[in-house]
Symmetry: C2
Subunit: 255 residues, 2 copies
């Protein structure tokens, strides 16, 4: 059984090891949108896709099939290890009462995650210390998210936000930005990467002072610069954004 | 001109877009070890490798060649955007007085970074909020590193440490671990990934209480779990390590 990361979606950013696993699989388990990205599949390969958002159910289905001797691939977009299926799969194993599940030969194959593609398109905003946080309060309390944002801001880390916004979570991003504006200058570079590595890709360089929550949806990754992140003009009229590899020897600490 | 990420080294984890850029390049610029990983090259492709650790010099050389009309690839291992060449290249452009450099068609192609491979081998330790920090105090003051470690620990983030140790920086990791032990339990899972994605790969799951700095060198990435990261037995006798996707609704805050 393999848990694989498609990367952002474009075949040219998918690892050959992932392509090989997909080609050899008998059963392909995953969220419908991602399974479609992973195809086309051969006749005879069984597609077990669903729009069900319950990752644990998919993980359990995959173990059930693998325990029966099927060659199973669990499909994630991006990197399965970063806010995707790998944690659910290992958690399902942790909770498993079926001893056969523990005998399954499990491999996890990494992929390029959305923040990496957005960063590459924009320049090198993740070129120094950074953190990756999910803004979703579906599985963790909002107070914990705010606490982490405040500490990450104090640490002057570049911050990549996954799951920044959705129809069911409309106010969270606005509140997060308000919190970050208390720590960082309005001129701090911000990158919005929507559908990065897919045909509809849009990457926008803006600032913490200018970004509006309405510019962001669930298909967007948001990268917020540190105090040192810089924007420079680009020949196409846009901007390159980068965070230098160095830190001044006596810097004013953010607070 | 393209700045590319080889990924960890294994060809099956290198993006096809990166392979294509390498195949089309006229000039290949990079650190000797990584350029060797990127080959073999065709007769006629010019290799401009060096053991020089000055990333800015390599970046400037690449722009100089590209401005002359050469098709140039700058080679990074892992992801060029994560503690690698992309930030140096954009910084070189930022400082450039030669207007031709600003006319160079520049693209950055992401790759799979070492922490992602180590995480995939170990399970899903980066399955929830995490940060990526360099322990190298070559380009930033040690006080800033300690400050970031302490805040990341307070935020209960999983912490991936790059550049954890080298002959020239022998004491830093020990001091970092001492700091982290003040915030986290000795049973906190720790992963040491050495040469991940390369033939000599070694991945070890240990704990914050047991890890010794001598186990770590400059080719190792270190992942330190959060308060929720768990280890479970694996059929080969080792352990799976994962960080659950959820956070308890009323957790004791670490301090």
């Amino acid at each position: 059984m393999a848990v694989i990361g498609l990367g952002p979606g474009a075949p040219e950013l998918m690892a050959p090891a992932v392509r090989a696993e997909l080609d050899q699989a008998q059963d392909i388990v995953g969220y419908t949108t991602y399974v479609r990205m992973a195809g086309p599949f051969r006749a005879g390969q069984r597609i077990l896709d669903s729009d069900n958002r319950c990752e644990m159910e998919r993980a359990r289905l995959a173990f059930e099939l693998a325990a029966q001797g099927r060659r199973v691939v669990v499909v994630s977009s991006g990197d399965p290890g970063i806010f995707a299926m790998a944690a659910a799969v290992v958690e399902a194993l942790d909770q498993a009462e079926d001893l056969r599940w523990h005998q399954v030969d499990l491999a996890i194959l990494p992929g390029i995650s959305a923040a990496q593609v957005a960063a590459a398109r924009a320049g090198a905003p993740l070129g120094h210390d950074f953190c990756v946080l999910s803004l979703s309060d579906n599985l963790k309390p909002w107070s914990q998210i705010e606490r982490r944002l405040a500490l990450a801001a104090q640490a002057d880390l570049v911050i990549a936000l996954y799951n920044p916004s959705s129809k069911a979570r409309p106010w969270q991003l606005g509140q997060a930005l308000e919190l970050l504006r208390r720590h960082r200058d309005p001129s701090t570079p911000v990158i919005l990467g929507r559908d990065v590595g897919r045909p509809a890709e849009q990457v926008l360089a803006t600032t913490l002072g200018e970004i509006r929550p309405e510019q962001v949806d669930m298909r967007t990754v948001v990268i917020i610069g540190s105090s040192l992140t810089r924007q420079i003009p680009r020949r196409d009229g846009g901007a390159w954004v980068y965070t230098p590899r160095w830190y001044p020897q006596s810097s004013a600490q953010t607070s």
